[in-house]
Amino acid sequence: MGKGDRNMVVEHEHNYEVIIKNLNKSYDGVSIFSDLSINFIKGKITAILGPSGCGKTTLLNIISGIETNYSGEVILKNDSISYVFQEDRLIPHLTVYENAAFVLKSTMNKMEVDISVNKFLDMVELLEYKDKLPGKLSGGMKRRVALARAVAYKSSLILMDEPFKGMDDRLKSSIIKKFLIHQRETGRTVILVTHDKIEAETMGDEVYFL
């Protein structure tokens, strides 16, 4: 299996944010994807459901460019991508605020970073914890920081791998509502990977089973 092709979208495919053609991927001789072709519509939320080990995370890693060992074609409309990883991937010695600001500093000035970080930490109800280190937070709280970081980053595509893991029902429902409003307002494309059928049906404009 060689390195796959990651290209930009061509004119006639302008309705799609991501186009995957004839994707093949295997681990240790076990096939994960065989000739998989799938298109993700621009401005829509596509939920991908499936059991553990079916390749949901691998698909997001291929789209994000982390996984390069595959064959087939991955076409992206835009190469700015936000990603809520399967693991939180928070920098342990930076505070909640600094973790979110870390991904924004390269493209925004200090004031823009401040406005954006505060806005999205408020969205995930963590504003009062902005000076805390990740080590002082619960699993669900870390998840919310990772979510705020991804949403705050200016991108047309958000990849989300089990973004609401570890959150209680009230908080989950409140954050989903706020996130959906944000998504409708901004028209960002979302690919959501989850094993929760209700979550997929609530959020997804389209739902796929892997």
Binding site: S64, I66, Y83, E87, V103, K105, S106, Y153
Partner: protein, 260 residues
């Protein structure tokens, strides 16, 4: 305005102060124990030329401290050691970071680092004697011995960094300067500190050894050599104690600034 402390605060402060005092008393006790052992050994050997007593060494040290050349020698050696250690740390960090971020550079530097680490200190000093004047021999030797320590520590630090964080930064297209400042440097800070501490101890040993061979005009090494030549063993011990105290002070000052 006088602050009013609660009895609990007073009790806590008193407890902390007692613990600190106990520690100091314990350390002084240990020092006295070893000085006593030294004294007993010198009494037992009963030969000033082989092992002078602590009192004779102290007397010799006090006499030395009253002389101008003592301070000039100490200051000259301190400057050489500081230059040697600073350059070693700088070279070690720059090369360590470059090698940690670039596999080819690491492979390119590997033979050099392995060779320098395996080369006996005496060979480095003798080669340096051929190449440089006496003051520079000391600095060159200190650099060659110390920079691989910092380099290896920095490289080890970079290798221990959580690669998933670097992947995260790449996905979000974070500029390299922020990745370096917010992920790499804080993660390798402890490795750099431990490298510097090791350099301070080794730097003094190596510098004094190369001073003995390269004999710069004002240096602790030259004084050690002349004390040995004139069989002034008490003076030899006194100069050795000066090196130990200086090395200890370097470490303490560095740790103090680190805490600040």
């Amino acid at each position: 305005m006088k602050m009013i402390q609660s009895p609990l605060e007073e009790q806590f402060q008193m407890k902390t102060s007692i613990t600190a005092e106990t520690k100091i008393i314990k350390k002084i006790g240990i020092l006295i124990f070893w000085i006593l052992i030294w004294h007993v050994c010198s009494v037992f050997i009963n030969e000033e030329l082989l092992l002078p007593s602590p009192f004779q060494v102290l007397k010799s040290l006090v006499l030395l401290m009253g002389k101008f050349y003592f301070w000039k020698s100490v200051l000259s050696s301190v400057i050489r050691v500081i230059i040697g250690i600073l350059l070693s740390v700088l070279i070690g960090i720059v090369l360590g970071l470059t090698a940690g971020l670039n596999k080819f550079v690491e492979e390119l530097l590997e033979p050099l680092i392995v060779t320098v680490k395996a080369t006996p200190v005496i060979s480095i000093i003798i080669i340096a004697l051929v190449w440089f004047n006496s003051s520079n021999v000391v600095i060159f030797t200190a650099i060659l011995i110390c920079f691989p320590i910092v380099y290896t520590n920095v490289l080890q630090g970079i290798k221990s960094i959580d690669k998933s964080l670097i992947q995260m930064a790449n996905v979000f297209k974070v500029k390299r300067k922020y990745v370096l400042k917010d992920i790499y440097l804080p993660s390798i800070k402890n490795y750099i500190v431990s490298g510097i501490l090791m350099c301070m101890g080794i730097g003094w040993k190596v510098s004094v050894a190369s001073e003995v061979l390269s004999i710069p005009r004002y240096s602790i090494g030259l004084n050690l050599l002349s004390a040995k030549t004139t069989l002034e063993t008490a003076e030899l011990f006194a100069w050795t104690i000066v090196v130990v105290i200086l090395s200890f002070m370097f470490e303490k000052v560095f740790k103090y600034y680190l805490q600040k």
